[in-house]
């Protein structure tokens, strides 16, 4: 049937990008908490540039998947290695996120439940969605994200109103170098910006990818920015990073008239949990799609099911929460490479090649004209 083509409109990026970035703001807030709001602004600006780079590269190779475009740009051997690297990177990021989400759930909501239980539940849902392809996943994100965003934004605005927004202007004690360092860290935790590139080859109307990417970053910026602003206005620079769950800690201070104390965080967690699960499912999809593109003879469904056990094993590896933080800090470096570096080099190569091809065509046309006898 004509509808079953597993393609998505480019405008889907309006919500897919926020979905891969917004949850949970904890990582971003921890990074920005020490650097102040300025470091978030700069870091997010860098991330926007990275996202647009990925979007432009995806537009240049509309019919090629990530593996295909990497092979076209870097040659078959290197392209294959890079694509495999991407798959591993997404897998590692997804595993980290799965463990982080599960830890948050058991820590704040279900202290008596083993961490493996929420992990298995979330993994099952992600596998189910991924096995059906890109289009159902995007459709699901479209329906889920507005609810999650609404809850997150509502609490952020309440938090900002209750805090001291003047704190947003504060700078860290380390001055500008500290701001720059933290900006890079903020940009390094937003690996979802590579979504346009990861889903390349699945878009309808590829010419709209850059604009949709920018739109998606704008939505993500508002949501993430308000969460960071909420925490900073409540706890101030450095204060935010003292908490394991800074955003939740902020919401815990929101007391609605007539309600029992310090429990509105559950609603916030439900909203944020939706976004977290969505982000994890998308990262899992990206890893699955990348691997399936490398071995096209294997169906996506098989890859989706086959990847689940190794991912679960990876997610269970970190022994405690502190090691999760350390892994997150380590993941910043590959993020820079895979989400900023390779797309930038790829875009440069792609535009250089197309310019050279144009020049060659022009030279050939000129040579043909010179051989033609004058009329």
């Amino acid at each position: 049937m004509m509808w079953i083509n597993n393609r998505i409109p480019a405008t889907a990026l309006l919500l897919l990008i926020p979905m891969t970035i917004v949850e949970p703001p904890g990582s971003t807030i921890s990074a920005a908490g020490d650097g102040g709001f300025l470091s978030f602004v700069i870091g997010f600006g860098l991330a926007t540039l990275g996202a647009v780079t990925a979007g432009l590269l995806a537009r240049r190779h509309p019919e090629e998947t990530l593996a295909g475009s990497l092979r076209t740009l870097f040659g078959r051997p290197l392209g294959t290695v890079l694509a495999a690297g991407y798959a591993l990177f997404w897998l590692a990021t997804a595993a980290w996120l799965l463990r982080f989400e599960a830890a948050e759930t058991t820590d704040l909501l279900l202290p008596l439940t083993p961490v493996a239980v929420p992990m298995l539940c979330m993994l099952a849902l992600a596998v189910y969605l991924t096995a059906h392809g890109v289009e159902p996943m995007a459709r699901w994100c479209f329906v889920v994200l507005p609810f999650g965003l609404a809850v997150a934004l509502l609490f952020s605005l309440i938090g900002i109103a209750r805090g001291e927004p003047v704190r947003l202007a504060d700078l860290p004690a380390g001055g500008l170098p500290e701001v720059v360092r933290k900006s890079l860290e903020v940009a390094g935790v937003l690996e979802g910006i590579a979504a346009p590139l990861m889903l390349s080859g699945y878009f309808l109307q590829p010419h709209r990818i850059p604009a949709a990417t920018l739109g998606g970053m704008a939505i993500a910026g508002v949501a993430l920015g308000s969460a960071v602003a909420m925490v900073l206005s409540m706890f101030g620079v450095r204060g935010a990073s003292l908490y394991h769950w800074p955003a939740v800690a902020t919401v815990q201070n929101v007391i609605l008239p007539g309600f029992a104390v310090e429990k509105m965080d559950i609603i916030y967690l439900a909203g944020i949990g939706m976004l977290g699960l969505g982000r994890f499912a998308l990262l899992y999809l990206m890893a699955t799609v990348t691997i399936q593109n490398l071995i096209p003879s294997v169906p996506l469904r098989t890859v989706a099911f086959a990847l689940a056990p190794p991912l679960l094993a990876m997610a269970l590896l970190p022994p405690h929460f502190d090691s999760l933080s350390q892994i997150r800090a380590l993941l910043v470096y590959p993020t820079w490479g895979f989400c900023y570096g390779i797309p930038l080099v790829g875009l440069g190569l792609s535009s250089w090649r197309s310019r050279r091809a144009r020049a060659d065509r022009g030279a050939r046309a000129l040579a043909t004209d010179s051989r033609r006898p004058p009329s």
């Binding site: 049937m1 509808w3 889920v144 949990g273």
Partner: protein, 523 residues
């Protein structure tokens, strides 16, 4: 050449004369062994003569004295009509022309409106069993099929389930002909196609595939036809059989085929580019493709103004969430997150649960089960007593349950909200699905609190995102929407603003309405 033609004509005449002579000598006893006509008669007699309801009426054609037989099923045929329009004219008929007996009779003697001839045994047999009269004429290789239905049928009555305050009050009956006529009366478009198929090896049920040529997407029509044609089953007793056999997945609780007993709803679907399937002996039409959004629409939505309809749709949407989540929310708040309740309510809940013997989740399950039990029992009890039984049973059960410490008062309120909310859902399938899914949501909540509830909700949404109906994503137009498609969703826009048909069915002609001319409605 002339001589050869004459010889051929002579040979034909001699053959016919011999056949007539032989028939006259042997009489018409159905045991002829020669020719196609004999085979047809033998087969019909052999297969049907043991059935007492099948009538074999023998008579002779007036002028020629030729033997004839009318075969029909007693009770399915209008006997007066048969006598007046078929048998009497035949008995009084002049001698038929040679060699074109059946065709000649059809043209000159039989005055019934729907008559045709056939040489196929299956068709002749099927026609007798379908309530038509089959005429077998001595020496004639073909049978004449006369349609003179006389079976007792329910007339066109008010809808029993899809009641609407506004709009037409007729509904489908069990007669396929009546039902297609109800559609044709509303849709006088030459592009309306009604194509009949016969499904069911033994029931040989007539099934009509209906669509609007030039509007419906040919791929959807083709897919519907393909799914109907691949059915190979003994019997089709209702459209519900077809629904189960053509749906996209058997494992989903959500219906991927819509049903309606209202002809106006079917016509509205056809105008949108959908395909309808009607089944003989069924008063429910099937409409495909189905969408999730369609489950929230009530028949009168099309006839009412946009503002009240929008408001009511919001209410229905909230009601379906309430029916799905209220017991689970109560379980989550009472057992995991009491802080989510206002302080005074939390105290009340704790107080009301003081004397209850069971854990919250068991109490909720028990209350839900009691509700289903009452509902099911009130359906089975004769209607004059049913409502009284429901009210009295509910009150007695609730009151005594609370006093006995089985339920808390709050739980009774929760169950009442659930019941009222589930009955305000406009379509029966959605109401059933909501009640069905409430159970896993509640169990997940019992194990994992609010996290479990959110997780099951996301899983339901994931299932909806994956689901398709005849290739069309079930969640349209809520994801990847166009502004035009959103005009008839939960908020309904004024009818004058509608321009095109829903794009997600990919109709051939998209324009539905041209803009109203300026000033026309201002006096």
């Amino acid at each position: 050449m002339d001589r050869l033609d004459k010889v051929k004509e002579l040979r034909v005449s001699v053959t016919i004369a011999l056949a007539h002579l032989e028939a006259a000598l042997r009489g018409f006893d159905g045991k002829r062994s020669d020719g196609d006509a004999g085979a047809l008669q033998r087969a019909l007699l052999a297969q049907l003569q043991d059935s007492d309801d099948i009538v074999f009426r023998r008579f002779r054609l007036g002028a020629s004295g030729m033997g004839a037989m009318a075969v029909y099923a007693d009770g399915l045929v209008n006997k007066e009509d048969l006598e007046e329009r078929v048998i009497a004219p035949l008995i009084l008929s002049p001698a038929p022309a040679d060699g074109t007996l059946a065709a000649d009779l059809v043209e000159r003697a039989i005055t019934a409106a729907e008559v045709k001839t056939t040489g196929e045994l299956d068709e002749a047999m099927g026609s007798v069993l379908a309530g038509k009269t089959v005429l077998l004429l001595e020496g004639c290789p073909e049978a004449v099929i006369v349609s003179n239905p006389g079976a007792k049928e329910r007339g066109v009555e008010k809808p029993a389930i899809e009641f609407a305050l506004k709009g037409p009050r007729d509904s489908f009956s069990e007669s396929l002909i009546t039902n297609t006529a109800l559609i044709r009366r509303r849709l006088r478009d030459p592009g309306l196609r009604i194509q009949k198929l016969r499904i069911g090896r033994r029931t040989r049920t007539d099934v009509a595939l209906i669509y609007l040529e030039g509007v419906a997407n040919p791929e959807i029509v083709q897919e519907a036809r393909r799914r109907l044609e691949r059915i190979d089953i003994d019997g089709i007793l209702d459209s519900g059989y077809i629904e189960q056999l053509i749906e996209d997945t058997q494992w989903s609780p959500f219906p991927t085929v819509n049903g309606s007993e209202r002809p106006d709803v079917v016509v509205a679907g056809l105008l949108e580019g959908r395909v309808a399937i009607l089944v003989d002996n069924s008063s429910f039409a099937l409409i495909v493709p189905a969408t999730f959004d369609g489950l929230f629409h009530s028949p009168e939505d099309s006839y009412d103004r946009w503002l009240p309809v929008s408001l009511l749709r919001v209410v229905r949407f909230i009601a379906s969430f309430a029916a799905l989540l209220t017991p689970s929310l109560y379980v989550a708040m009472a057992s995991y997150h009491p802080g989510l309740m206002p302080l005074k309510l939390a105290v009340k809940v704790a107080g009301s649960r003081e004397g209850v013997a069971f854990p919250v989740v068991f109490e909720a399950l028990l209350a839900q089960f009691s509700l289903e039990l009452l509902k099911e029992a009130s359906f089975r009890i004769p209607s004059p007593v049913g409502q009284v039984f429901g009210v009295v049973g509910g009150l007695v059960l609730g009151d005594l349950g609370v006093r006995a410490g089985i339920f808390s008062e709050i739980m009774m309120i929760v169950i009442a909200i659930t019941a009222i909310a589930s009955f305000s859902i406009p379509t029966v399938p959605l109401g059933t699905v909501v009640r069905l899914l409430g159970l896993p949501v509640m169990l997940a909540t019992a194990f994992l609190g609010l996290f479990g509830m959110v997780l099951t909700l996301l899983a339901i949404l994931a299932h909806l995102a994956v689901l398709r109906s005849f290739g069309v994503p079930y969640l349209v137009p809520y994801a990847f929407f166009s502004a035009q498609d959103l005009k008839d969703t939960i908020p309904k826009f004024p009818l004058a603003t509608y321009r095109g048909r829903p794009t997600f069915f990919r109709p051939r002609v998209t324009v539905m309405q041209k803009p109203l001319k300026q000033g026309v409605n201002q006096g």
